[in-house]
Amino acid sequence: MTKTAFYNNPRFRSAFYQLAVLAVVIWFGVEFAINARANLEAQNVRFGFRFLQDPASFGIVQSLIPYGEQDTYGRVFLVGLLNTLLVSALGIVFATILGFIIGLARLSPNWLLARLAGGYVELVRNLPLLFQIMFWYLAVLLALPGPRQSLALGLQPLLLSAADGFAYLQRFGAPDAIAQWWRSLAEWIGPPAIYLNNRGLIMPRAVFGEGSRIVAAAFVIAILAIIGLRAWARRRQQATGAQFPLLWPSLAILVGLPALATLAVGWPVSFDLPQLRGFNFVGGSQVIPEFTALLVALTTYTAAFIAEVVRAGVLAVPKGQTEAAMALGLRRKTTLRLIVVPQAMRVIIPPLTNQYLNLTKNSTLAVAIGYPDLVAVFAGTTLNQTHQAIEIIAITMAVYLVISLVTSLAMNAYNARLRRADRWRA
């Protein structure tokens, strides 16, 4: 073997190129920092994070933690972050459920169902998301009546309209007593406590009194007991083949234990009922239309993509698997649940993770409809009021990066577990 020059040595070469790239990146970073500093100095902006302790003095319409104008920009950051996490997490849960239903529906042998699901996917994923958000917000939610003409939801309005119906029937000789009876039943039920109007959905707020801890503890114990029961049932089935009917005992535990606890300590929960006073409802808790519009739009939009991911995943499972399951006498639903979906999951999870990340990033469209997410209140309002652009953008990017990484990690862990389970089963 002839001796090659050291610069032709592939290992040297690759090390050299990597070092060169690294050097360029470092040089770029240093240059960026120096330049940024000089520019900021020229623009009179003082660099640093001290502004996070300054009072924000603007209001925020939705906040999961106590917040007022006298609170700091640091607090604004937290409020925005929690609002982002709230809408993203709920969006992910609902989009997954809806996406799976639609994806499976699209594969259904029922012609109409499959076409409907297909139509949904084509319609929803071909309209721009911002347009859909605006649609839900302006055309649907803000088109609801104002606070004074709120739609009342609940048992009483239902009973009252039943009473009205019977009162109408009186003309045809129905006894008066029936309408009266419905009316008094409505009275006894009490006024409706859920209202829907263009300010949002207004509901009673549960106030947890003394003893509610005990009931909550009973609830947790019930859940643990159910998990234990399931494990036992599975072991028994594996050992003896005998199935155990899980549903009813589980429900009984879930309802029974907390009910017992309630009997023991008395009903610990009271309700703060919303009341129309002045311009709006006071009391109760309110789901603002900005939140609902964003959540609905993100859910329905992402569900269309998830449906396609699910469909692709299911189609990727060899047909022989289904045929074998059918041959063993499993029903279609059971085949889907036990044979097809678990195998499809391996194909589904990576693109599903992508959809989750997309949903989170898409939630930044919130500012268009005034939902106070992280980008709106922090990278928007706070940046505008403090002019600390670099710090704020760095923090915001870091947050989205962390959210994305955590989502990916969780999904990867889930995927790894599925694979292990697969191997173990095989």
Partner: protein
């Protein structure tokens, strides 16, 4: 996602852009046009028509600068900017100045230079007549729509807090969304500077169903602003405004200009460049004020045409009258 890319762009711009250009006047001349940051559409102040032609008080001010530099008021490119995103483009030299109903405050002045006050304003509220509200102090518990990135949302917090009133604020990214949400009943009140209430009211399908409440809850001196570190450019912008005010004070309008050029009054002769080289000292030409008044008009003409009693907005001059007429508009002399 687009927003993230947007903010990333800002960060990169700050990190990568060269030192702020200290020769804006030269840059503008070489470019052959002025780039002016304006609102995204505010009738009377800065508003594009169907053909994309901009009109308004803030727009005319930009045209006045172009007239002074190029003797041609059309040599302006307008960059529409939302309240929230108006400052970064000025910082990173994407626009030469901001002429966009922007309130002069200490924190903004610490980063930019305000060239004066083109409109003395204050914040107010608009409500539906049907609410039968006569005063802002009756707004306890109301939902209020406003635009984010403004002094408006800060004043709102102050006002309700100091009057011990509760409120709910929904802050939108653009003026159009804000007014749409208000119109559809999401909010009981809409708040911004008084002048903009008049302007936004024109966008409502039934303007007469809405009233502007009497309370003025803040001081909003609106004026054009430039980057720091370019004194010459700062002077050009500042003195364009002063020239328009001085012309009105001395009774020189686009209609009387030709007579005024023959005037014997020393003040008028100096202003119009008949005597002295005051324009040249500023880096402009001797006839700079002639150019401004001929192509655009004096302050009073511009005010009347765009927002005054005879315009669609129908705002009375009020404190924006000249100091000689009982108002507070006042410009230093040209000499």
């Amino acid at each position: 996602m687009k927003r993230i890319v947007g903010v990333l762009g800002i960060a990169l711009a700050i990190g990568l852009s060269g030192q702020a250009d200290a020769q804006t006047l030269k840059t503008v001349r070489d470019r052959g046009a002025l780039i002016c940051g304006v609102s995204q559409g505010l009738p009377g102040f800065s508003n594009p028509d169907d053909k994309g032609t901009w009109t308004g008080l803030d727009v005319d001010f930009c045209r006045a600068i172009a007239a002074a530099i190029f003797n041609d008021p059309t040599k302006v490119k307008f960059t529409p900017l939302s309240s929230k995103d108006r400052f970064e483009p000025l910082k990173s030299s994407e626009v030469d100045l901001l002429s966009r109903n922007t309130t002069w405050t200490s924190s903004r002045d610490a980063l930019f230079n305000f060239a004066g006050v083109i409109y003395f304003d204050g914040q107010g509220f608009m409500v539906r007549k049907a609410l039968k509200v006569n005063s802002a102090l009756e707004l306890n518990g109301a939902s209020i729509c406003t635009q984010t990135g403004t002094t408006t949302e800060l004043n709102l917090g102050d006002y309700f807090r100091s009057n011990n009133m509760k409120y709910e604020v929904i802050a939108f990214g653009s003026a159009d969304e804000t007014i749409k949400a208000y119109e559809s009943g999401r909010c009981d009140a809409f708040t911004t500077d008084m002048s903009q209430l008049y302007s936004e009211r024109l966008k409502l399908s039934n303007a007469n169903d809405h009233v502007i409440l009497p309370e003025v809850i803040s001081k909003e001196p609106l004026g054009p602003l430039v980057r720091q570190g370019d004194d010459q450019w700062f002077d050009v912008v500042k003195w364009t405004l002063f020239a328009m005010l001085n012309a009105e004070e001395l009774g020189v309008s686009s209609k009387t200009l030709d007579d005024a050029l023959k005037s014997k009054q020393p003040e008028i002769r100096r202003m119009l460049g008949v005597d002295g080289t005051y324009g040249e000292q500023l880096g402009l030409t001797r006839d700079w004020v002639v150019r401004i008044v001929r192509h655009v008009g004096n302050y009073g003409e511009v005010f009347e045409r765009n927002v005054g009693a005879s315009s669609k907005l129908g705002i009375s001059r009020g404190i924006n009258r000249l100091w000689t007429k009982g108002g507070i508009q006042y410009a230093p002399p040209i000499r």
